[in-house]
């Protein structure tokens, strides 16, 4: 997925053959990070039930909103413009933002499910059980990287 140009503040991407389907597969996995996964604090006194509940509720609400956005995006058949070599996709800056959140959730969540490999042992051995998580993690990272490159790079001259 590469940025072709910006148009009226929106981003126009070119997707290669099969990338449209892969993007849809990755987005449809959302959410992957288990609920109530992260603590609000490590400090005694702050890490209490009330503060943790507020965080968990805020994350659940955001997850629900993002799920609606993903469903709406995937159901919109006019979203992709088919080309001879693949497809063209136009997305707004707000869509880039939620898409980054969604892709990172799939990225981090799949990393957790594949055994949270650390920096000391970055390679995780694929097995029947974790192969799909590793695949999802890599795909999400790939699309995430493409969006971030687009945000930081001037558009290509066609």
């Amino acid at each position: 997925m590469r940025l072709l140009r910006t148009e009226n503040g929106n981003y126009v991407f070119r997707l290669g053959a099969g990338e449209k389907e892969l993007l849809a597969v990755v987005l449809s996995l959302y959410p992957v990070i288990p609920p109530a996964h992260q603590p609000i604090s490590n400090s005694t006194g702050i890490a209490n039930k009330a503060n943790q509940r507020l965080l968990d509720e805020a994350l659940a609400e955001q997850r629900s909103e993002n799920k609606k956005l993903v469903s709406s995006f995937l159901a919109d058949t006019q979203r992709f413009h088919e080309t001879e070599t693949g497809a063209r996709l136009t997305i707004t800056p707000a869509e880039v933002e939620w898409m980054l959140q969604v892709l990172n959730d799939v990225h981090v969540g799949s990393w957790i499910l594949s055994g949270s490999p650390g920096e000391d042992s970055p390679r995780v051995i694929p097995t029947d059980k974790n192969a799909r998580h590793i695949g999802a993690m890599e795909l999400a990272r790939w699309f995430q990287h493409d969006l971030l490159v687009a945000l930081n790079r001037p558009p290509e001259v066609k």
Binding site: I40, S41, G45, L100, Q101, N104, P117, R141, Q144, H145
Partner: protein
């Protein structure tokens, strides 16, 4: 010396749980982002810029601090604001917490 007399009316010293105490309104809470081996460096920089409205150099400075030193103190705020920022950072799946500034 005469014994002190217990007053008939005692001052209300019970803490009102609903209202913020003075200490909660003071900027005594740190928002900390912790390193992990999964989040992309460019993504972390992007999130810092989005959540705090920072320019790229400042966002990159904190991102590198997280990467190289294991954590970075991003802001020092009141309890309410620190909580807000931690919620925002965790919405982007970053490992962020708020800690009391001892």
């Amino acid at each position: 010396m005469a014994n002190t007399v217990t007053p008939a009316v005692m001052p209300d010293i019970e803490r009102d749980e609903k209202s913020n105490s003075k200490s909660e309104k003071e900027p005594g809470y740190l928002v900390v982002c912790w390193n992990d081996p999964v989040n992309l460096m460019e993504y972390v920089t992007h999130v810092f810029r989005s959540v705090f409205g920072w320019q790229k150099p400042k966002a990159e400075f904190h991102m590198l601090q997280v990467h190289n030193q294991g954590k970075s103190v991003l802001v020092r705020e009141s309890l309410e604001k620190a909580e807000h920022y931690v919620h925002q950072l965790q919405k982007y799946s970053l490992h962020a917490t708020m800690e009391r500034d001892e």
